[in-house]
Symmetry: C2
Subunit: 144 residues, 2 copies
């Protein structure tokens, strides 16, 4: 079972002159294998047994590179640390205010907002970000 997302990312990075190191590859692998929305520290702790000498700075450096190349999206929500999401298909985020859980959901891309916003502000629009906040089913049942 090949990991196409991983392969694509590696290829795309190589093509733009980014070297592939074992640590870098492992971070990409982690992001593309079901681990959604981790923090930098979560990635670091998940990989430190494979790379006992890896520095936290390496995780941050790579996440910055990936962000700059459009491979991952960085999210700051609330007061916690940043979370990083491998960019695949366009989706938005539903965030639980109780436990911080993040769930993806699909919705038609809001192109009209970008058009209107560009017209009103004079900005050259690049992208937008939408997050919906609420209470997840687990936290709903806990409160009752």
């Amino acid at each position: 079972m090949a990991n196409e997302m991983l392969d694509d990312a590696v290829r795309s990075l190589r093509e733009s002159g980014v070297r592939m190191t074992p640590q870098r590859h492992a971070i990409l692998e982690y992001l593309t294998t079901g681990h959604t929305h981790p923090t930098a520290d979560e990635i670091y702790r998940a990989l430190e047994h494979r790379f006992p000498n890896m520095s936290v700075a390496t995780v941050y450096n790579n996440l910055r590179v990936f962000r700059e190349k459009g491979i991952v999206e960085e999210m700051n929500y609330g007061d916690a640390s940043s979370r990083f999401d491998f960019v695949t298909t366009r989706h938005y985020h539903m965030i639980c205010e109780g436990c911080g859980k993040i769930v993806d959901f699909n919705y038609p891309v809001l192109d009209d907002v970008e058009t209107v916003a560009a017209h009103l502000t004079g900005f050259k629009v690049d992208r937008h970000r939408l997050e919906v906040y609420g209470t997840c089913p687990d936290c709903q049942s806990k409160v009752q």
Copy 2:
């Protein structure tokens, strides 16, 4: 020229049992007089000449109170510190990726997104947040 927004905020806070101190009043005043989207530190520095003994903690404490009461909105965007926005009418934010400038723009509230998201995820929806990123006119002319 009275500041209605300020008066409303003070009244609403008083009614919910929040005491009005000179520092607290000054922070509200700052937020309602044309200073949009400041950081906690910007507020602190703007007021320290009037309140030489004021602590940074006071600014943070008050911003938390205001946020809990729905008087201000806290925004974390990018890697910088939180910015705080006095809540008036519903609006969204356009953010410049070049210089960090934030401009408000109005757009019909995206109720439908909340409904769909609630249906897809099972969350109980509370609110949403939308930000558009791009390049402001100033930065556009600089780049050329």
